[in-house]
Amino acid sequence: MREANPVISLRDLRVSYGEIEILHGIHFDVKAGETLVILGGSGSGKSTLLRTLVGLEKPSSGQIWINGQDIAAISHEELYEIRKKTGMSFQGSALFGSMTVGENVALPLREHTKLEDSTIEIMLRLKLEQVGLAGFEYHMPSQLSGGMKKRAAVARALAMDPEILFFDEPSAGLDPIIAAGIDQLILELKKAFHMTIIVVTHELASAFLIADRMVLIDKGNVVAIGTTEEMRASAQPRVRQFLDRVPEPDVEGELDYLQTLTEQYRRHA
């Protein structure tokens, strides 16, 4: 493992939607082969952070170094080259509804490789087997349950043998048993492939199970970063509040949020 060389480095990353800044200078590194969980409440900016990491949002300033390239400053083609070596599983799984599960998984292979159909066929079966969906390649996504869709999406993310795997809320909308299954899947992938895995979630149990290290994001800032033990032992009030599930002492925060929304709406109108 290249412990010394971080796979991903964020340097003073700022992201804005219009005039409202969502992330106020995010700064941390992700080491090769580790599983980093990005924790945060609703509206904390953790999803925006993930979208920025995969290049779906442009930062207003700062740098995102992935494998030695600043994805905020490179061309579209160069970004596509990096994306071929990363995979992402979306919150709603984002499978293409007009294609079978097999076609979904095979799509990146068909697009980016010159492999023959028979080879692609074998690879997609292998990927589906890895996520526990062997034999489902001819099903349509609409015929799958929520947990199975998530697994199919993971298989698609794995198709190109990525070095980095991103998960957006892997257990959102799943019952505890199915969610535990997805956690188990992430652990298996981590053990089998030594991939760098980045997971965005607000599920504490799941986070502590899969994480090597954690980052807590609150109101667009990094509040704490450390191993699971360090987080558990942290005395930082915001960390304690999040881990001990203490509700906000007053609703002022939410009122602020409402006010921001109203202002935003007015500006648009």
């Binding site: 979208r51 995969v54 290049g55 080259e81 979306f90 919150q91 697009e111 698609r156």
Partner: protein
């Protein structure tokens, strides 16, 4: 107070014009990128999605034939009735065939075809891409390093610029047949003579100018439908709104493009 109102009006007018120009810019960008993936990229090793384009062509073109045939047949018949109303007074019923043939192939064939295609396909493009946008499928394509314009827009673009002229020719023909129904039953035409009179009254430029317009309509409808789809945010309700916008904006822009090209042909002396 009056100056304030006037200022307000001017600033709103300015904002409206700026928005409109920005929208046209976005349409032009999308159209250019779709054209790049259709005409240039295949020679740079990025395969054209012919299979996808063929199925789009089937949907846009072939499946539109029944309804388009019926509508343009009626339009031809209506044109014949309307022109006969005036021509009959002049005792020039033999000119009905010419009137129908000219107005169909120069104007109404391309326009009616475009409007039918907007209703069937422009709206479908916006709904399909809009749904994919709200379910993160467009983001998934991006993250997999697959350009959504290459994957989704270019096949539609190709299907439209091929199928719209074809549909237009079909529409012209059906319109002439519609006129023939009147010509044969109410004026002293036989079917053969009516068709011959229609063909004789048309110059190649009449048909070609209609076909050039129909290609431009195809570009416009694809760009608007796909842009509305791609700029959908939020949920299912927004998809409906995008679809409506796609239809309304397409109809407006098709008529505007029609005007521009008709004027160009007129001043080029082609008219």
């Amino acid at each position: 107070m009056a100056t304030e109102n006037a200022m307000e009006f001017v600033s709103q007018l300015g904002a409206g014009v700026t928005d409109g120009l920005a929208y046209l810019g976005a349409l032009a960008t999308l159209g250019t990128r779709a054209a790049y993936f259709t005409f240039v990229a295949p020679f740079q090793g990025k395969a054209l999605r012919l299979q996808s384009a063929a199925s789009q062509a089937m949907e846009v073109g072939v499946r539109a034939l029944p309804i388009l045939s019926l509508i343009t047949f009626f339009i031809g018949l209506i044109l014949a009735l309307q022109s006969a109303y005036e021509l009959g007074k002049l005792g020039a019923m033999s000119l009905v065939a010419k009137a129908v043939a000219l107005s169909m192939s120069r104007e109404l064939g391309p326009l009616i075809t475009a409007i039918v295609v907007i209703g069937r396909s422009g709206s479908a493009f916006a709904a399909e891409i809009g749904t994919m946008k709200v379910t993160e499928e467009i983001d998934a394509l991006e993250v997999m390093a697959i350009d959504p314009v290459h994957f989704l827009v270019a096949p539609k673009f190709l299907a439209m610029i091929v199928m719209l002229p074809c549909l237009t020719i079909w529409a012209n023909t059906m319109g002439i047949f519609g006129g023939a129904l009147f010509g044969v039953t109410q004026a002293d035409f036989t079917l053969g003579r009516y068709i011959q009179a229609s063909i004789d009254s048309l110059y190649v430029r009449d048909i070609v100018s209609g076909l050039i317009k129909s290609v431009m309509f195809g570009v416009t409808i694809t760009a608007v439908g796909c842009l509305e789809g791609l700029s959908t945010t939020g949920g299912a309700e927004q998809v409906g709104r995008s679809t409506t916008r796609a239809v309304v904006i397409s109809i407006f822009l098709v008529v505007a493009v029609d005007l521009v090209f008709t004027a160009i042909f007129f001043f080029l002396g082609n008219g």
